[in-house]
């Protein structure tokens, strides 16, 4: 958070000199948000890039005080969310929302790649693939709340700010989302290829070790 405050001050003083720092600090999370909302890499790339460009253009029209006061994390997230929502609408107009699987395959790219051995990696891939698929089955409002709160790691207050909803609504949506994701994972569990003899918990232990 402190680095974002310093960044906002830098942007307020000299937008062009400060902007590359904003890109560096926020490109991964904006791409992640877009990817987890849309499930398609190319769409996510365009949304993340467009969000950065729109942020720059918006700040061109702001005075110094307004830029200094920006809470960059929720503000940038809200721009990406809106762009993703518009794109989703266009996608829905173009094709029925039944084509989740190809979108998922294209969008899957675990952050844990290279951090774990091949066996664990396969476990992680499987779990995360299911989780990414589960996210796309949530309603857009619940999905956005879960992605900002638990994938991006915003606080409840920041998530509420980014989505323009009351904190109570966010809490309820996050709660509902986690419950639905859990049931998705549990339903998918026994079909997980050669490791289906293992318990669900047994498959999660290595994943957790890899995180720590």
């Amino acid at each position: 958070m402190d680095t974002d405050e310093a960044l906002a001050r830098h942007l307020a003083k000299d937008l062009e000199a400060g902007f590359p720092g904003l890109v560096e600090a926020h490109q991964d999370r904006l791409y992640t948000i877009a990817l987890r909302l849309l499930g398609d890499r190319r769409d996510a790339e365009e949304v993340a890039q467009d969000a950065l460009v729109r942020a720059f253009r918006a700040m061109q029209g702001y005075d110094r005080d307004r830029i200094t006061a920006l809470r960059l994390r929720p503000w940038l997230a809200s721009i990406a969310i809106n762009l993703a929502r518009n794109r989703r609408r266009r996608l829905d107009d173009r094709q029925p929302p039944s084509q989740l699987e190809p979108m998922l395959d294209a969008g899957f790219d675990p952050a844990t790649d290279g951090r774990a051995g091949p066996d664990r990696q396969a476990d992680l891939r499987e779990t995360q693939r299911e989780l990414a698929a589960g996210l796309l089955r949530l309603t857009p409002a619940v999905r956005a709340a879960i992605v900002l709160r638990h994938v991006d790691g915003l606080s409840v207050a920041e998530t509420a700010e980014a989505l323009g909803r009351p904190e109570g609504t966010i809490k309820a949506q996050v709660h509902r989302g986690l419950r639905e994701l859990r049931s998705v994972l549990e339903a998918a569990g026994p079909t997980a290829g050669p490791r289906q003899h293992e318990t669900r918990a047994g498959r999660f232990v290595p994943a957790l070790e890899a995180i720590r």
Binding site: P20, D28, L30, L52, A111, V151, L178, L185, L208
Partner: protein, 266 residues
């Protein structure tokens, strides 16, 4: 086989692990779109292969270089921004540039001329008005932009043209009729570009050396720069030449309204 329920904490960890790194094109693309970095690609020109750099604001640089690395280091040193090679120009830009090089002055090519002085930009915009296959002296630009004494400064500004060919600084020649310097490879390169535009630079230079600096028609009594399209329509039988505008005026000739010749003494 019982399926153990997943705890909330485990699920949150899994979600947290769905974060991914953005492809490099995301951040760089945003910098290009906002004009804080550039992309470049090769184009074919009458001088062979050149490189064109552009960003979200417009074309920022045209230059020749023996290879990509040389072009990039020159660009970074001169412009002070990051630059990355791409396969080809965006289709619309490529089409606009080739139409401009073919002589279509109406085609709009956005230019990114940040960091240059208003005087330089004025000089370059004036050079854009010179039709393909025609030339004007440095003094003409100086007079047209209302700075008749700034002939040397005009030459300097043209030498610093960051987008040669797109802004046709090659169509501006010395006031004594010599072809003059050219930023993309000296006088010979300038002759080649003008030759590709259909101009006989040998004849032009020979005329200038022989004191034939202006062309008039004895039917209209109008005097032009020799490469003006009106002057080139005059048949040999009716063509008269003058060493100076004063001589033309004395003979009762008025300056052409298209090429607006100026006195070289100015």
């Amino acid at each position: 086989m019982t399926v153990m329920p997943l705890t909330e904490t485990q699920l949150e960890h899994e979600l947290w692990d769905l974060r991914v790194a953005a492809p490099a094109s995301v951040g760089f693309g945003a910098l290009v779109a906002t004009g804080l970095a550039d992309r470049y690609a090769p184009i074919e020109t009458p001088l062979g292969r050149a490189f064109v750099a552009w960003n979200g604001r417009g074309v920022s640089w045209v230059g020749q270089a023996p290879d990509e690395a040389t072009f990039e280091s020159r660009f970074r040193a001169e412009v002070g921004r990051e630059v990355a090679r791409t396969e080809a120009l965006p289709e619309r830009l490529a089409r606009a540039i080739s139409r401009r090089l073919a002589g279509d002055r109406r085609v709009r090519i956005p230019l990114d001329l940040r960091g240059h002085t208003p005087f330089e930009v004025m000089v370059w915009m004036k050079a854009l008005e010179i039709p393909r296959g025609e030339v004007r002296p440095y003094g003409w630009i100086a007079a047209e932009i209302g700075r008749p004494k700034a002939v040397r400064a005009v030459g300097t500004a043209l030498a610093h043209n960051p987008v040669p060919l797109v802004v046709p600084c090659h169509r501006v020649v010395r006031s004594d009729g010599l072809i003059g310097q050219y930023s993309m490879g000296g006088p010979d390169a300038k002759r080649r570009v003008l030759g590709a535009e259909g101009l006989d630079t040998g004849a032009l230079e020979a005329d200038a050396a022989a004191g034939r600096r202006y062309t008039g028609s004895d039917t209209t009594h109008i005097v032009c720069h020799p490469t003006c399209r009106d002057a080139r329509r005059v048949t040999d039988r009716h063509r008269v030449t003058f060493p100076s505008l004063a001589a033309a005026a004395q003979a009762g000739y008025r300056p052409c309204k298209h090429c607006r010749p100026v006195s070289l003494a100015a």
